[in-house]
């Protein structure tokens, strides 16, 4: 039911204004880094048991990446740098998250894989399917030193038992923090989003103690005043129900009840229970049903694909929706690029009965996500050496900030800054494709937090850079609310429970739990749209049908698997 949520994707996807650069002359770029004393040095690996990557020994690695980012263009300047410095040419195959499941199914059946696989599948199907090699032998100070550093404190969490004992197969790609935890400026996860223009029109109302009633009142008032936006009918509320993002329809009840994102279950006292058929859900869908009767829910919500949904948001005529920030990042980028800043969104956190909201959580390290080396890789030493090299600070800066002097400057105090031109370029989607490796950065392990010189991993984590990058409308908007960052609109997240989050507990292929989970998702897809669109008089009848169908599913198998996962984590993760 959920589980796509790499919350952190947020941090990077959303905010991925990381780019920069003075111009596109790639020849200059390579020269400038070549003469730069801090340029990535291949000698760093001398004394290591891994092969040294150098342009004298060119290698080609195929890499499969699950990401929303696009493949880089052929003339990409960072690709060129990788080739000039390390002799590595990457052959990309990029799969969007909604197509990942079937691609994995086909690949496993075929038994042939690219050299490197970067997947975000929570069920670790590639691990249990035998697609990855265990990396344990490489993760040593004298071998893949940077990767060893990356996983050492979290070995127990990252290691996964895919049927052959616990080994590390994938290097986590987000939220393994170094130094000071940053990224506190943007919020990447769940909320009931509302257009800034709606709040401005209502006189910047107080957003604390938000309820569904207040939220929809704001939408309704604005819609009545502005029946059309840019000549097209205004849509008050959009429901996300596209393939792979079904959680857009099924997850809200847990937040409304004051619980954090545990996917399809609410966990109380370390015991997980599904909530799809419980009263919190009934109350939410009943409310949506009434709102639909008032014409506030888009009638096309349930028939559109993800692309159509995003395209609709990008027109700026959708006033609000429940979604995760990273999930509609592309629509947001399009609005920003079209200078429609007032049509972008801020987070609100409605709950039932005055319960304290728990939408925002502490950033969780991604497990069962990230890049690994496949069993088909002819030369795993080289593949590991490449990932290890990229994990070093020099390359991390190149991936996130860009090339020094071209995409950012280093001030006298050692702080990284960008000019207005560099910031504007970083918002330009076309510029990015030839100057950034967004897809690769997305899946590779990252130096989240701060570098050893104190600069943040990316421009958005650098507080002064964040404020300077805001446009005037956003600066004024934040001032009106007396807030400094977008994250200030959220609750203060308490410490995560040890087991958290339950949405990334893997359900093995072919298990009853996996089957039950799929059936629950399918039942919600079949009934919830009908329930929301029905005449209010038919609500109870349809709700009974829906819960009746859930009753036929082996829910216990699903809950048992989640609870076993929770207990296992409490037992094994307590120490880190």
């Amino acid at each position: 039911m959920k589980r796509f949520a790499s919350l952190v994707l947020a941090a990077a996807l959303v905010v991925s204004l990381a780019a920069c650069g003075n111009g596109g002359e790639s020849t200059n770029s390579t020269q400038s880094t070549a003469t730069n004393s801090s340029s990535p040095s291949t000698t760093a690996q001398s004394g290591s048991t891994l092969p040294v990557l150098s342009p004298d020994k060119p290698v080609e690695l195929s890499i499969w990446i699950t990401t929303n980012q696009q493949a880089p263009s052929a003339d990409n300047k960072i690709s060129k740098l990788l080739k000039d410095k390390l002799g590595v040419t990457l052959k990309y195959e990029i799969i969007t998250p909604d197509n990942q499941d079937q691609k994995i199914g086909v690949m496993l059946a075929g038994g042939e894989f690219p050299d490197l696989i970067g997947a975000t599948d929570q069920n670790a199907r590639l691990v249990t399917g035998g697609a990855y090699i265990p990396l344990d032998d490489y993760l040593k100070p004298e071998a893949a030193d940077a990767l060893y550093e990356h996983v050492k404190p979290y070995w127990n969490k990252i290691a996964y038992d895919g049927g052959q004992g616990k080994h590390i197969y994938q290097i986590p790609n987000y939220n393994r923090f170094y130094g000071e935890i940053t990224g506190g400026t943007n919020y990447g996860a769940s909320a009931f989003w509302i257009q800034k223009a709606v709040l401005a029109d209502a006189g910047y109302p107080d957003l604390s103690n938000m309820t569904l009633e207040k939220y929809f009142k704001l939408l309704e008032d604005y819609k009545n005043k502005n029946p059309k936006i840019d000549g097209q009918p205004t849509i008050a509320f959009e429901v996300l129900a596209a393939t792979g993002r079904e959680w857009g329809m099924t997850n809200p009840p847990e937040y409304l009840a004051g619980h954090p994102n545990n996917g399809g279950v609410i966990v109380e006292n370390n015991v997980a229970q599904i909530f799809a058929d419980k009263d919190v859900s009934k109350r939410y869908y009943k409310f949506l049903n009434e709102m639909n009767a008032k014409g506030l829910v888009d009638r096309e919500s349930f028939t559109q694909t993800l692309d159509q949904y995003l395209a609709k948001l990008a027109t700026g005529r959708v006033l609000g929706m429940y979604d995760q920030r990273w999930s509609f990042g592309n629509a947001n980028d399009a609005l920003v690029a079209a200078n429609k800043d007032e049509r972008t969104y801020v987070a609100t956190m409605p709950t039932f009965d005055g319960v304290a909201p728990y939408y925002a959580d502490r950033d969780v390290m991604n497990i069962n996500q990230g890049v690994g080396v496949s069993v088909s890789c002819k030369n795993p030493d080289v593949a590991v050496a490449f990932v290890n090299e990229i994990m070093k600070e020099e390359w991390q800066k190149i991936l996130s900030w860009g090339i020094e002097g071209e995409d950012y400057q280093v001030g006298a105090d050692g702080r990284f800054t960008r000019t207005e031109k560099q910031r504007e370029e970083s918002r330009d989607l076309v510029w990015r494709s030839s100057n950034k490796l967004k897809a690769l950065e997305d899946i590779m392990p990252k130096h989240n937090g701060t570098f050893s010189d104190g600069n943040a991993y990316g421009p958005d984590g650098q507080p002064e850079e964040f404020f300077e990058t805001l446009r005037q409308y956003d600066k004024d908007f934040l001032t009106k609310y007396n807030k400094k960052t977008w994250r200030d609109f959220n609750n203060q997240p308490p410490e995560n429970p040890v087991y958290y989050p339950a949405w990334n507990i893997a359900l093995p292929d072919g298990s009853d739990a996996q089957m039950a989970n799929k059936q629950l998702t399918d039942a919600s897809l079949q009934y919830l749209p009908k329930i929301i669109m029905a005449k209010p008089a038919d609500f109870d009848k349809l709700w009974t049908e829906y819960t009746g169908t859930i009753g036929k599913i082996n829910v216990k198998a699903y809950e048992d698997a989640i609870n076993a996962g929770i207990q296992d984590r409490i037992k094994n993760w307590g120490n880190n």
Binding site: T128, P233, T303, M515, L525
Partner: protein, 320 residues
Amino acid sequence: MRAKTLALPRDRRSVWGTIISQRELIIMSVPLLLYKILFSYVPITGWTMAFQNFRPAIRSTWDQQWVGFDNFVKLFTGINGERFIRDIRNTLAQSFLTLIIGYVCSILLALLLNEVKNTGFKRIVQNITYMPHFLSWIIVAGLVSTALSFPSSGGIVNILLMKLHIVSEPVQFLSNPNYFWGVVAGSHLWKELGWNTIIYLAAMTAIDPALYEAADIDGANRYHKMWNITLPSIKATIVILLIMSIGWILEAGFEIQYFLGNGLVVEKAETIDIFVLKYGIQMGNYSLATVAGIFKTGVSIILIAGANFIAGRLGEEKLI
């Protein structure tokens, strides 16, 4: 022939004689035979998966865990069973609707085109109607989804219906399950109509003009000629094509149902192939997918044998 040979060994030489005299033909057919064996019969060994708890991590077929008919029980009983049976119904209904509408319309169009004496006009109509055949289904699905959406999203069909005052409110084609079969059949019709007429038009060119001349002398009008000469002359073609289509009846298509089949219409939209994709490939449950595949093959063989038998009884051409 073979039985005869066994009974009368003396005839063996003549069999060998036949083989030798036809050796070029036999040699020519070898590559095709190998192709068929390799791609149609060797994969059948994969059916073993249906009786195993197949895990791709174990590379050898024989090391898999054998589970007997467990997967069959899983597929045909309980909540999966209800769903699978519903999917069989959807597949058959969509197929038959598509087949019947597609057949009637393409034969009709072929008959009409055959009567058009202005070659230029005939060519234009033919070109326009068969062009969509070359679009991939995913593009057609995109076009259909836009054409049938609300006017504000560019739904041309709704705009047209409203301008013509046939409906006052836009019709929710894509969220009402009762329209779904029609949408599928309509999309197939739009895409394949022109293409399917080509073979009938070709068959019609083979009709002896003397028949028409004789009919003219007998005072037959155009409709008489269509009914009594053209149609009976292409009857054999129609029957053969029909038998061949029956073999594909469980292939109701995949892309359009996958692309347009949202949760609201799933009860009418989901076909066997989509079930296999969702529960087999996406969940890595290859065994369940194999059981569904075996079932499809079995039903197809029965259907085609049945159609062939009936055609034979009716004194028509037989495929086999």
